[in-house]
C-alpha cells in the first residue's frame, strides 16, 4: 500500500511546492528581454529569438547540435535499422500524395530557414520539415536499402552542421575576436551560413532517429567493409 500511494504522494508534494514557489514569482518577471532587444541592431538579425539562439547564446546552440549528433551516433551504436522499416507497401494514394507533398515540404523548409532572421523560423524549424520529408519518404516506401548503403556520405551529413558551426566560431578567433563573436556587419550572413549547414544536419539526424538504427553494410563498396 505504501508503494501505491508514495508515487502519487510525491507528485502531489512536488505540485504543491511548485505552485507555492510560483506564487512567489514577480508578476512581471524582469528577465533578459530588455538587454536582448537593446542589442538587436548589432546582432545581424531582426528576429529576437534567432538573435538569442544564434548570436548571444550561440554556444548553447552549438552544444545542442552536438547533442543531436550524439543521439544519432548513439542510436546507430544500438542496432541496425529494423527490417520492418523497409517493408512498407507503396500505397498508390500515398505515392500520389508524396509527389505533391515532398517538394512542398522542401520549399517550405527552405522558406522557414530563410525567413528565420526576421520572423519566427530558423534552422531547427526548417530542419524539422526536411526531417519530416525524409520520414515520409521512408513511410512511402521510397527509400531502398541500396540508397542507404553510402554510409560515409550519410555520416558526413550528420555531423556537417556541427563542424561548420565550430569552424565559423573558431574562424572568428583568427580575427582577434572571442570564440563565436561575429563582426556586426557580417553577423547576418554568418548566421545564415551556420543555419544552412545546421538545417541539413538536423533534417538528417531527425530522420536517422526515426529510422531507428544504422543502415546495414552496403554490398561490398564501403571501404571499411562494415560500419
Amino acid at each position: 500500500m505504501i508503494g501505491r500511494i508514495s508515487g502519487p504522494l510525491m507528485a502531489a508534494v512536488v505540485f504543491v511546492a511548485l505552485c507555492w514557489a510560483m506564487l512567489g514569482l514577480p508578476a512581471e518577471p524582469a528577465g533578459l528581454g530588455r538587454e536582448a532587444f537593446g542589442a538587436l541592431e548589432r546582432s545581424g538579425v531582426t528576429n529576437p529569438v534567432t538573435a538569442v539562439l544564434l548570436n548571444y547564446r550561440a554556444y548553447d546552440t552549438l552544444l545542442e547540435l552536438a547533442v543531436l549528433v550524439l543521439a544519432a551516433v548513439g542510436v546507430w551504436s544500438l542496432r541496425t535499422m529494423p527490417a520492418s522499416q523497409f517493408e512498407q507497401r507503396c500505397d498508390p494514394l500515398l505515392a500520389a500524395l508524396l509527389r505533391f507533398l515532398l517538394p512542398l515540404l522542401l520549399v517550405t523548409g527552405g522558406y522557414l530557414l530563410w525567413i528565420g532572421s526576421s520572423a519566427p523560423g530558423g534552422a531547427f524549424q526548417g530542419g524539422a520539415l526536411f526531417g519530416g520529408a525524409l520520414v515520409l519518404m521512408l513511410l512511402g516506401g521510397q527509400v531502398s536499402r541500396r540508397a542507404l548503403a553510402r554510409t560515409s556520405l550519410l555520416r558526413a551529413g550528420l555531423w556537417f552542421g556541427l563542424l561548420l558551426f565550430c569552424g565559423v566560431g573558431l574562424t572568428m578567433t583568427f580575427g582577434g575576436r572571442a570564440f563565436l563573436e561575429y563582426p556586426p556587419e557580417r553577423a547576418g550572413t554568418l548566421i545564415l551560413l551556420i543555419e544552412c549547414g545546421a538545417t541539413l544536419s538536423i533534417g538528417m539526424i531527425l530522420a536517422a532517429l526515426f529510422f531507428g538504427g544504422r543502415p546495414e553494410a552496403g554490398s561490398g563498396k564501403s571501404h571499411e567493409g562494415e560500419q
Binding site: 508515487g7 502519487p8 510525491m10 507528485a11 502531489a12 512536488v14 505540485f15 511548485l18 505552485c19 510560483m22 506564487l23 514569482l25 508578476a27 512581471e28 518577471p29 524582469a30 528577465g31 533578459l32 528581454g33 530588455r34 536582448a36 532587444f37 529576437p48 529569438v49 538573435a51 538569442v52 539562439l53 547564446r57 548553447d60 546552440t61 545542442e64 547533442v67 543531436l68 550524439l70 543521439a71 544519432a72 548513439g74 542510436v75 544500438l78 542496432r79 541496425t80 529494423p82 531547427f124 538536423i202 531527425l206 532517429l209 526515426f210 531507428g212 538504427g213
Partner: protein, 101 residues
C-alpha cells in the same frame, strides 16, 4: 499580460511536471514512461513560455523562448535514444542473453 492567465499557465506547467514525474517513476512499461518524460518536459517548457509571456515591458522575452527551443530539441534526442534502446532491448527478448545487433 495580466496576472491571472500567467499564473494559470504556470500552474498547468507544474501539474504536467508532477504528473510526468509520477509516471516516470512508476512500474509502467518503458514506452509509457517515455511518454511520461515527454509530459514532464512539456510542463517545464510551459513554465518557461509563461515567464516569457509575462515579462515586463510588453514584448515577450526571447531568452526563455530560445531555451524552450533548445530544450525541445534535446528532448527529441533523448526520446530517440530511449526508443532505440527500448527497441534494441525488445529485440533481444526472443534470443538468449547474448550480444545484440
Amino acid at each position: 499580460m495580466s496576472g491571472t492567465p500567467h499564473l494559470l499557465f504556470l500552474f498547468t506547467g507544474a501539474l504536467l511536471f508532477a504528473l510526468g514525474l509520477r509516471g516516470v517513476f512508476s512500474t509502467a512499461p518503458p514506452l509509457r514512461r517515455i511518454i511520461a518524460l515527454n509530459v514532464m518536459s512539456s510542463g517545464v517548457f510551459l513554465v518557461f513560455i509563461a515567464l516569457a509571456a509575462a515579462a515586463e515591458g510588453g514584448r515577450p522575452d526571447p531568452v526563455p523562448q530560445a531555451m524552450v527551443l533548445t530544450g525541445i530539441v534535446v528532448a527529441v534526442c533523448a526520446n530517440g535514444l530511449a526508443l532505440a534502446l527500448t527497441g534494441a532491448r525488445r529485440s533481444l527478448d526472443g534470443t538468449g542473453e547474448e550480444e545484440g545487433p
